[in-house]
């Protein structure tokens, strides 16, 4: 199966380890990856800030770049950015040049854990992590992409990993893209409440499927000098892997 990597600008700029982990997991499960080099950004920062004229060019570039390979699927390490790709057909529905391509792109784009669990049918990625962890659910992944199950199901099967539930799972962490820089006064109160909730679980590791939320919550943890480890779900699923343990849906547990 051919997969084009939708790296996202945040991972390109700041988090190489997330991109690496994602590629390694996908290749281990048998995907042949490629990285379309002309991709830049899904366009959320400008679009969500109201600069729609400027955003169109960003969309065109991203569509052309991501469709430039013969991949069957396009997979990215961020629920929010993938949700944006899925909105392209709606935004560009009256655009004669791009409406069709936007649909094609949206139809084959998936967030990483969603792809691994729902499309590849993997339930156990063979990973091991000896830790107590909690999971932050990103708003866009849950509400716009509608993916509520995949990350939890995959994390449940990581060996030695104890997942503890996060209170107020439904509340936003206060990132919100440019919101976090435009409205720091409100954003701070939101991220503080999130940090407090995480601390209350006693978890030592915070996992999420959105690097941007991790960058926000982690940055606040650092400013408050709280001890925690931040991990993207791809890094968890790529940790200490024993390939013989990889298991698919509908496959008997014992051999």
């Amino acid at each position: 199966m051919k997969v084009a990597i939708f790296s996202t600008c945040v991972v390109d700029l700041l988090f190489p380890n997330v991109g690496q982990a994602m590629v390694e997991v996908l290749e281990r499960i048998g995907c042949e990856t490629s990285l379309p080099t002309n991709q830049v950004c899904c366009g959320q920062p400008t679009y969500n800030s109201g600069y729609h004229k400027e955003s169109n060019k960003v969309f065109y570039n991203e569509i052309d770049a991501l469709l430039s390979t013969d991949a069957d699927y396009i997979v990215g390490p961020a629920g929010s950015c993938v949700a944006m790709l899925r909105q392209y057909p709606h935004i560009l529905k009256d655009n004669p040049d791009y409406s069709k391509k936007a649909q094609e792109l949206a139809d084959k784009s998936y967030e990483f854990s969603q792809f691994v669990y729902n499309i590849l049918g993997v339930v156990d990625a063979g990973a091991q992590l000896d830790a107590v962890a909690t999971y932050h659910r990103s708003c866009h992944m849950t509400r716009l992409l509608g993916e509520k199950t995949a990350p939890f199901a995959l994390l449940d099967n990581v060996k030695d990993l104890k997942m503890v539930p996060l209170p107020h799972l439904e509340n936003c962490c206060g990132f919100g893209g440019t919101f976090s820089v435009k409205e720091p006064e409100i954003s701070k109160q939101m991220v503080d409440e999130k940090v407090d909730s995480i601390i209350s679980t006693g978890a030592r590791v915070l996992i999420s499927a959105d690097a941007s939320c991790l960058m926000n919550i982690g940055g606040r943890f650092s400013r408050r000098n709280e001890n925690i480890k931040i991990m993207h779900i791809a890094e968890v699923l790529n940790h200490n892997v024993d390939a013989s343990r990889i298991r698919y849906k509908n496959q008997p547990t014992t051999v």
């Binding site: 991972v11 700041l14 800030s49 729609h52 936003c172 435009k182 409205e183 926000n216 982690g218 480890k229």
Partner: protein
């Protein structure tokens, strides 16, 4: 237009809310309790998502044929001997109501909770009439009135910002000497209000839904005061926004059900009434019945991207799930319509000059869109407002127009982005600290505690990870990785 509740700048209001710990705690507590109640009430109904489809269809249909339904409704009210007045502005509405009050020589006016009368600032206008007194009979509105006409902070729970001690103090002024027990205080208020009710000569209510095919007014409450307001005084005036209409009782039944579950987590509120003027043979109800139908900016939304805002049934669920509302409370919005619905509606009714800040004060988490019983795409409408302000009106509402436009150029250009990737690590050197951090795995290349320009909002609150060396970034790694794979393959 008086939907505004404050002249202070937005940021000042936000800071005031931040310091109001009581308000924040009580909002958080109410949100959490409502979350459970609402979820349970919706689950009990079953197939909630299909109910939402139905709710959306009903409301969209009504808005599409609004003029027809308004005409049908008004014909039916008049057939029963009632009067209908269409008010384009708040002033027209207020003048009409004042005229009726004068004609009827009304001296004691009772009112039940109505956001629309708050919107047109009716109470103050009526108090300016000679020898006229007025009584808000909804418990929460009564508290606000007796607390020197304090502003409501929630469209369903107007006194969410007040605690029981504050309420006890308000009541003390009225001769209350009991404890701060909510039940005891409610009893006191009931008695106080009942006496006033019996002598009232004019009743004013809002309207949850107006039934087009029979001219009835549907009210959904928990205290029964609205029904008394309709039953006792001989003259009654109903004030309603022009969108508050349903075709028939069938649709009202669906929406009442969804409204009760969404607003207060109940199957149905304690009182759900359908009434109108007294007709032949009835022993109570108003003999003189008026309906004031208000536009006041609502038609601004018709035929635009913002038309869905007219679908709203004022359940308040979007406020109850909103993380922004959770922290800045109702007063933070500076509008009698706060929360997500307020952030969308206030600029539609009263313009961007006054309420342009509100659409930006959102992380676009979409909790509102997810909960709205009539599927208003609230977070998308916030983005649409931003678009109007930035693209069309070229307002200076963003933190930095030039840089954001620049970001648009940079993120549409693969070449510029490559240059940025190559330079990011070096470029960030003057800002970065390699200092130890308590957070593992986020700051593998150091971090930034004070960033310039648009990023300063970020580092006001939190540290920023420093970009890796170009040779360590994801794209460079991937190139090496692919090369190794290919070499690996060719060696085999």
């Amino acid at each position: 237009m008086t939907i505004s509740t404050s002249d202070k700048p937005f940021l000042t209001r936000v800071k005031e809310s931040e310091n109001d710990h009581f308000m924040q705690q009580s909002v958080a507590k109410a949100q959490d309790a409502q979350w459970d109640k609402r979820t349970a009430a919706r689950e009990e109904l079953g197939n909630w998502e299909q109910w939402r489809d139905l709710g959306e269809q009903i409301r969209q249909h009504v808005i599409k044929y609004l003029p027809d339904y308004l005409e049908q409704f008004s014909d039916n009210v008049e057939k029963k001997g009632g009067h209908v007045f269409f008010a384009q502005t708040d002033e027209q509405a207020v003048n009409y109501i004042k005229k009726i009050a004068k004609e009827k020589k009304a001296h004691r006016i009772v009112k039940s909770k109505s956001m629309v009368t708050t919107e047109i600032n009716l109470d103050k206008a009526l108090l300016s009439l000679p020898e006229t007194s007025i009584m808000e009979t909804d418990l929460a509105e009564f508290i606000l009135q007796e607390d020197n006409w304090d502003e409501p902070t929630h469209i369903v729970f107007p006194t969410l910002h007040k605690n029981r001690d504050q309420i006890q103090n308000v009541f003390k002024k009225l001769g209350y000497s009991g404890s701060n027990d909510p039940e005891e205080m409610a009893k006191f208020a009931r008695k106080y209000l009942r006496e006033y009710f019996m002598q009232a000569d004019l009743g004013i209510t809002g309207c949850n839904f107006a039934i087009a095919d029979n001219g009835m007014i549907n009210l959904v409450t928990n205290e029964g005061n609205a029904d008394l307001t309709m039953a006792i005084p001989k003259t009654q005036i109903v004030v309603m926004g022009m969108e508050r209409i349903v075709p028939s009782l069938k649709e009202a039944e669906v929406l009442d059900n969804m409204l009760s579950r969404s607003a207060v987590g109940q199957k149905l509120t304690s009182y759900c009434s359908f009434s109108g003027p007294q007709v032949n043979g009835e022993s109570d109800g108003p003999t003189d019945f008026h309906v004031v139908i208000l536009d006041n900016g609502r038609s601004n939304a018709l035929g635009t991207d913002f038309e869905p805002v007219l679908q709203c049934i004022r359940c308040g669920a979007c406020l109850n799930v909103c993380p922004i509302y959770r922290h800045i409370g109702g007063h933070g919005y500076g509008s009698i319509y706060p929360g997500p619905i307020g952030a969308v509606l206030s600029p539609v009714l009263d313009g961007y000059e006054k309420f342009g800040d509100l659409p930006f004060a959102s992380s676009l988490c979409a909790a509102c869109t997810e909960t709205c019983p009539v599927r208003i795409p609230l977070h998308q409408l916030l983005i649409k407002h931003r678009k109007v302000m930035m693209d069309k009106l070229k307002m200076d509402h963003s933190f930095n127009n030039v840089l954001m436009k620049g970001a648009g150029v940079a993120t549409s250009s693969p070449i510029l982005f490559k240059i940025a990737l190559e330079g990011a690590h070096m470029g960030s050197a003057p800002l970065s600290k390699s200092k130890e951090t308590s957070v593992d795995n986020l700051f593998n290349y150091g971090h930034i505690e004070k960033a310039p320009s648009i990023a300063s909002g970020w580092t006001d609150v939190r540290d920023l990870a420093r970009p890796p060396k170009h040779s360590d970034d994801f794209r460079s790694w991937y190139k090496k990785h692919k090369k190794e794979q290919q070499e690996g393959v060719s060696h085999d």
